[in-house]
């Protein structure tokens, strides 16, 4: 019995193929629609602002946020999911990216720091999971936060994501999945915006931001 459980754990711990995306996203959307809800995680940010009393500063936050509790539970569940996946089903804890991407990343850092064996899913040295990452790629740790580069990446990125998601009226789940599935042209335009912004950042700005050494 115990042996079987270990086998199941090892089976799940393997890297998942891309088509599992359809299974995961499909079942998430199915269950939420079944319970008469919408799939859109960035709406939680508005709810949290409203719950903290932002309604007195802007009427955008004056809505019945008490009814949004279910979505906060989805976010809480996603946290648990991340915890269990990382700690019990992590496998080799590596991002199995292509050699071409590793070459690109090494070009950015100017040294051959990354190989197939040390590209951790989350580059940050705070956890044992990411401890093997070279210092240049130690992006998501508290130590990194107290550098100019880390501040731009963590605080700047967070601000843009929060601002942009509400400005566009949705994020990857709300527009790219729910909106496109419902044949909403606005969502398609928003997703084209996501990619335009992503390409501008990745190609024109990110290499220089990553090379900031302070």
């Amino acid at each position: 019995m115990n042996e079987n459980l270990v086998q199941i754990q090892e089976f799940i711990s393997q890297p998942w193929p891309w088509w599992m995306g359809g299974v995961v996203i499909g079942s998430t959307l199915y269950l939420l629609l079944k319970f008469n809800k919408e799939f859109g995680l960035s709406a939680n940010l508005r709810t949290m602002c409203a719950a903290d009393g932002a309604g007195i500063y802007a009427d955008f936050f004056e809505f019945d946020w008490g009814k949004q509790g279910w979505n906060l539970m989805v976010a809480l569940g996603a946290m648990f999911g991340g915890y269990v996946a990382a700690n019990y089903f992590g496998g080799d804890e590596l991002a199995h990216i292509s050699q071409a991407t590793i070459n690109t990343l090494n070009q950015i850092s100017g040294e051959n720091l990354l190989t197939q064996d040390n590209v951790h899913i989350v580059p940050g040295r705070d956890l044992v999971l990411g401890v093997g990452i070279p210092e240049f790629w130690d992006l998501y740790s508290w130590k990194s936060l107290f550098s100019i580069r880390g501040l731009i990446i963590i605080v700047g990125g967070g601000f843009l994501v929060g601002f942009g998601a509400r400005y566009a009226g949705g994020c990857t789940s709300g527009h790219a999945i729910s909106g496109i599935a419902n044949m909403q042209l606005p969502s398609l335009v928003a997703v084209m915006g996501f990619f335009a912004g992503g390409l501008i950042m990745t190609w024109l700005l990110l290499p220089y931001i990553l090379r900031i050494t302070i």
Binding site: A75, G158, F159
Partner: protein
């Protein structure tokens, strides 16, 4: 508890996204360099499943748990907001390699520094709410 089922749904989503490596900034960089099909595969299969499921709900072939036909809200046709807001979101997405769903998964997996990321995202959301009447929509 009525809300408990949503924790389960979130759990499935967060667990899956971690195992699919969609939480990884390296996967996002790879995607924007068009160096692998992986992320596109996730999005494309996800969208195909979502289209089928949405159709079945829209036509009433699948009913909600209350036995009703799910009502889908239409998005407003304010094009500027989708172009500008979308581009800003995309820049943040690629800068950190994290979107608004993945930030919760990452905090849960133990990278507590993402609490600061969520805090910054809240600040960004607040800034939008505060300045929205000055922004083109």
């Amino acid at each position: 508890m009525k809300l408990f089922k949503y924790i389960i749904i979130g759990f499935l989503f967060g667990f899956g996204m971690w195992k699919l490596e969609a939480v990884s900034t390296f996967r996002i960089i790879e995607m924007f360099h068009f160096q692998s099909f992986h992320m596109y595969g996730i999005i494309i299969t996800g969208v195909i499943m979502a289209i089928i499921i949405t159709r079945l709900f829209k036509k009433g072939r699948i009913k909600t748990s209350h036995g009703e036909v799910h009502q889908f809200p239409d998005k407003s046709h304010e094009w500027m907001r989708y172009i500008l807001g979308g581009t800003i979101f995309g820049m943040g997405w690629a800068l950190t390699g994290v979107c608004s769903g993945m930030m919760f998964v990452l905090v849960g997996s133990g990278y507590t520094v993402f609490i600061v990321f969520i805090g910054a995202a809240l600040l960004g959301t607040f800034a939008y709410g505060y300045f929205r009447r000055y922004l083109p929509h």
